[in-house]
C-alpha cells in the first residue's frame, strides 16, 4: 500500500543543514501494525508527517496505492489526507469550542457529507470508541483518555487506510493509555494500517512490526 523510495528530508536551521531523514526506504502493507521507536531527534515524527502528507520530502518518492503522491498540489494533497489518512496526536488537538460529536464530524463536513448521514456516522463512530453517552460534552468536560478516544473516532470516521499516531498515550495515565491502545489495536484488526510513534518500550513491543530509527535512518525493521 505504501512505498517510500530514497526519502531525504533536509531542514535548514540557520546556516546548518539538518538531515532529519536520509535515504529512507519503507514498505507498508494493508492492515499492518507498526511501532516506530528511537531517541529524540531521530526523525520519527518527520517520517510520520511525511507519510501523512503534512510535509514533503526534499528528495525521494512516496507511493500511496501505487500513485506518486510526493508532488501533488495542495487540493489533491488535502483530498488524499481526507480520504486515506487519519491522525492521532499526543495532545489530542480537539477543537475546544466544539462538542465531542462536533469534533468527530469535522472531517465529514470538510468532505461535504450531507447532515443526516453525518449524524448517523458520528453516532456509530463514537459508539465504537465507547463514548456514545459523551457525544454532547465539550473536550474540557472529558478525561484525557476520553479525549483521545474522541480524537481516534475523528481520525477514523472517513475509514482511512492509514492511521498515524504520534505518541498517542504520551499524555495519558497507564489505565487510559491502555484503553486507547486497545481501541487502536481493534482498528488495526479491522484492516487499517496503524503506525505508532512511541518512546514506551512496552507499547513498541505490542506492535507486529518494530522499526527503530537513529539519526534519520532506519537501523532495524523486524517482525515480532
Amino acid at each position: 500500500m505504501i512505498r517510500l523510495e530514497g526519502i531525504d528530508r533536509i531542514f535548514q536551521v540557520g546556516d546548518q543543514q539538518v538531515h532529519a531523514l536520509s535515504q529512507v526506504d519503507l514498505e507498508v502493507g494493508t492492515g499492518e501494525y507498526i511501532s516506530i521507536m528511537g531517541p529524540s531527534g531521530s526523525g520519527k515524527s518527520t517520517l510520520l508527517n511525511l507519510l501523512g502528507l503534512l510535509d514533503r520530502p526534499t528528495s525521494g518518492r512516496y507511493f500511496l496505492n501505487d500513485q506518486d503522491v510526493s508532488g501533488l498540489d495542495d487540493a489533491r494533497q488535502a483530498y488524499t489526507r481526507r480520504r486515506y489518512i487519519g491522525f492521532v496526536f499526543q495532545f489530542f488537538h480537539l477543537v475546544p469550542r466544539l462538542t465531542a460529536a462536533g469534533n468527530v464530524e469535522l472531517p465529514l463536513i470538510l468532505d461535504g457529507v450531507a447532515p443526516a448521514e453525518r449524524h448517523e456516522r458520528v453516532k456509530t463512530s463514537l459508539a465504537e470508541v465507547g463514548l456514545a453517552d459523551r457525544a454532547h460534552h465539550r473536550p474540557d468536560q472529558l478525561s484525557g483518555g476520553q479525549r483521545q478516544r474522541v480524537a481516534i473516532a475523528r481520525a477514523t470516521i472517513m475509514r482511512p487506510q492509514l492511521l498515524l499516531a504520534d505518541e498517542p498515550t504520551g499524555n495519558l495515565d497507564q489505565a487510559s493509555g491502555a484503553d486507547v491502545l486497545k481501541v487502536l489495536e481493534a482498528l488495526s484488526d479491522q484492516g487499517i494500517a496503524l503506525m505508532v510513534v512511541t518512546h514506551d518500550a512496552n507499547i513498541g513491543a505490542r506492535a507486529h512490526r518494530a522499526i527503530r530509527m537513529v539519526d534519520g535512518r532506519i537501523v532495524s525493521d523486524r517482525a515480532q
Binding site: 501523512g52 503534512l54 488524499t80 491522525f87 488537538h93 469535522l106 472531517p107 470538510l110 461535504g112
Partner: protein
C-alpha cells in the same frame, strides 16, 4: 466544504470566543452608528434650514436697502456711502406687476412695552397683514393687522405668545391696552407659538401696522420689503421688475439688494450637504479604525488557533478552505457590527428626533448603504491578511505546539 457549513463553522468560532466577538462587534457598530447619526444630524440641519425657508414662503424676494456687491476701484466712486432709504412709496410701487402677488414692507426696531405695571424691552415689527400670509403665521386669538391703506397709522397691535404670557399671564388680552413707547395701542390678536423664524423670534415680538411703527420710531425708512412672486416661474421676472422699478424711483441708482429665496436656499443646501459629507467622513474614519481592530483581533485569533488550523489541514482542509473560514469570520463580525450599529444608530437618530422635534433628523439612505457596505468591505479587506496567514501556516509547526 460547503458555503453554509463554512459559515456555520465561522459563526461557531465567533460564539466560541464570545468576549472577543462582542468587543469587535461593539467597535464596528460604533463606527456604523456614528456614520448614521452624524449624517442624520447633517441631513436634519439641512432639512431644518430648508423648512425655515419654506416657512418664509418659497417664492419670496427680499429687498434690502444698500448694494452688497464688491466692485473694483472704479466702482467705489459711483456707489454712494449711504444708500437711499426704502420707503413706503417704494413698497406701494412694487405692487404694480402681474408677477407680484404680495408686498409686505417691514420696519424693525425695539421699544419699551408695558401693561399692568409690567414693562419689557421688546423687538417691535411694523408690517401689514400680507406678512402673516407670506410667513405662514397663525393666530391663536383675535385677528391679524388690519388691511387697507398702508399709510394709515392705526393704534393696534398683535402680540407674540411669550410677550402675552409675560405681560398678562393668564388674563384675557383681546381689547386690552398696551403701552408701546409713548403710545397706547389696543391688542387685537395673539400669535400662535412658532419658535424661531429666521432672524426674529415670533414668540417675543409686538406687531404693529407699518405706518404706526414708522411714527413710533420717527423714521420713514423700511428695514426691508418682502415681495412674494405669484409662481415659481415668475421669481425672475419679479426680480427684474423690482430692480427696474426701484432704480427708476431712485434716480437711476441701483442701490438695493434683491435676494431670492431660491438662491439662498441653494447656497445653504450646498453648505449643509458638504457638512453632511464631512461628518459622514469622520464617521467613516471610525469605521476604518474598527476595521483595523478587526484585523488585529483576527491576527490574534490566527495565532491563538494555530493548532486548530494545523488540525484542519491534517483532517484534509484545503488552503482555500481555511482562507474562506477566516475571511467569513471577519466578514460575519463586521456584518454583525453593521446590524447592531444600524440598530444603535437608528435608536440614536430616533432619540435625537424626539428630543428636537423641530429638526428633521433622519439618516439618508445613501449613508445607510455606505455605512453598511464600508463595514463589509472593511471586513473583507482587513480579513484577508489574517486569513492568508492562517492558510499559509505550515501544518507540521502548527501541530507541534500544544
Amino acid at each position: 466544504m460547503k458555503l453554509l457549513e463554512s459559515l456555520r463553522f465561522a459563526f461557531q468560532a465567533l460564539t466560541g470566543f464570545r468576549l472577543r466577538s462582542i468587543l469587535m462587534v461593539l467597535a464596528m457598530s460604533i463606527g456604523v452608528a456614528s456614520v448614521m447619526i452624524l449624517t442624520g444630524i447633517g441631513e436634519g440641519a439641512r432639512g431644518y434650514v430648508s423648512g425655515q425657508f419654506a416657512s418664509l414662503g418659497t417664492h419670496m424676494l427680499i429687498v434690502i436697502p444698500g448694494r452688497t456687491e464688491t466692485g473694483g476701484a472704479g466702482a467705489a466712486f459711483t456707489v454712494p456711502d449711504t444708500p437711499r432709504d426704502l420707503t413706503l412709496d417704494d413698497a406701494i410701487a412694487l405692487r404694480r406687476s402681474a408677477h407680484v402677488s404680495m408686498v409686505a414692507p417691514v420696519v424693525l426696531g425695539s421699544g419699551l412695552v408695558s401693561a399692568k405695571g409690567r414693562e419689557r424691552d421688546i423687538p417691535i415689527l411694523g408690517s401689514t397683514r400680507e406678512l402673516f400670509t407670506i410667513r405662514h403665521w397663525e393666530l391663536s386669538q383675535g385677528t391679524a393687522l388690519p388691511e387697507g391703506d398702508l399709510q394709515r397709522d392705526t393704534p393696534v397691535c398683535v402680540l407674540g405668545s411669550k410677550v402675552r404670557k409675560e405681560l398678562f399671564g393668564a388674563d384675557p388680552v383681546l381689547g386690552e391696552w398696551l403701552r408701546v413707547g409713548d403710545r397706547r395701542m389696543r391688542i387685537i390678536g395673539v400669535l400662535r407659538p412658532g419658535g424661531m423664524s429666521v432672524g426674529v423670534d415670533v414668540d417675543d415680538v409686538v406687531l404693529v401696522p407699518v405706518a404706526t411703527a414708522q411714527a413710533l420710531f420717527n423714521s420713514p425708512s423700511l428695514f426691508r420689503i418682502m415681495v412674494s412672486a405669484t409662481r415659481r416661474e415668475s421669481i425672475e421676472p419679479a426680480r427684474r421688475f423690482v430692480r427696474d422699478t426701484l432704480r427708476e424711483r431712485h434716480q437711476g441708482e441701483e442701490d438695493v439688494t434683491v435676494i431670492t429665496q431660491d438662491a439662498v436656499l441653494a447656497t445653504f443646501d450646498q453648505i449643509l450637504g458638504a457638512l453632511t459629507l464631512a461628518v459622514g467622513g469622520i464617521g467613516a474614519i471610525s469605521l476604518v479604525v474598527a476595521g483595523i481592530l478587526v484585523m488585529n483581533v483576527m491576527l490574534v485569533a490566527v495565532s491563538q488557533r494555530t493548532a486548530e488550523i494545523g488540525l484542519l489541514k491534517a483532517l484534509g482542509a484545503r488552503r482555500s478552505g481555511i482562507l474562506q473560514l477566516f475571511l467569513y469570520e471577519a466578514v460575519l463580525l463586521c456584518l454583525l457590527g453593521a446590524v447592531v450599529g444600524t440598530l444603535v444608530g437608528q435608536a440614536g437618530v430616533w432619540a435625537l428626533a424626539s428630543t428636537y422635534p423641530q429638526v428633521p433628523v433622519a439618516t439618508p439612505l445613501w449613508a445607510w448603504i455606505a455605512g453598511v457596505s464600508v463595514a463589509v468591505v472593511t471586513g473583507v479587506l482587513f480579513g484577508v491578511l489574517p486569513a492568508r496567514r492562517a492558510a499559509d501556516l505550515d501544518p507540521v509547526t502548527a501541530l507541534s505546539r500544544r
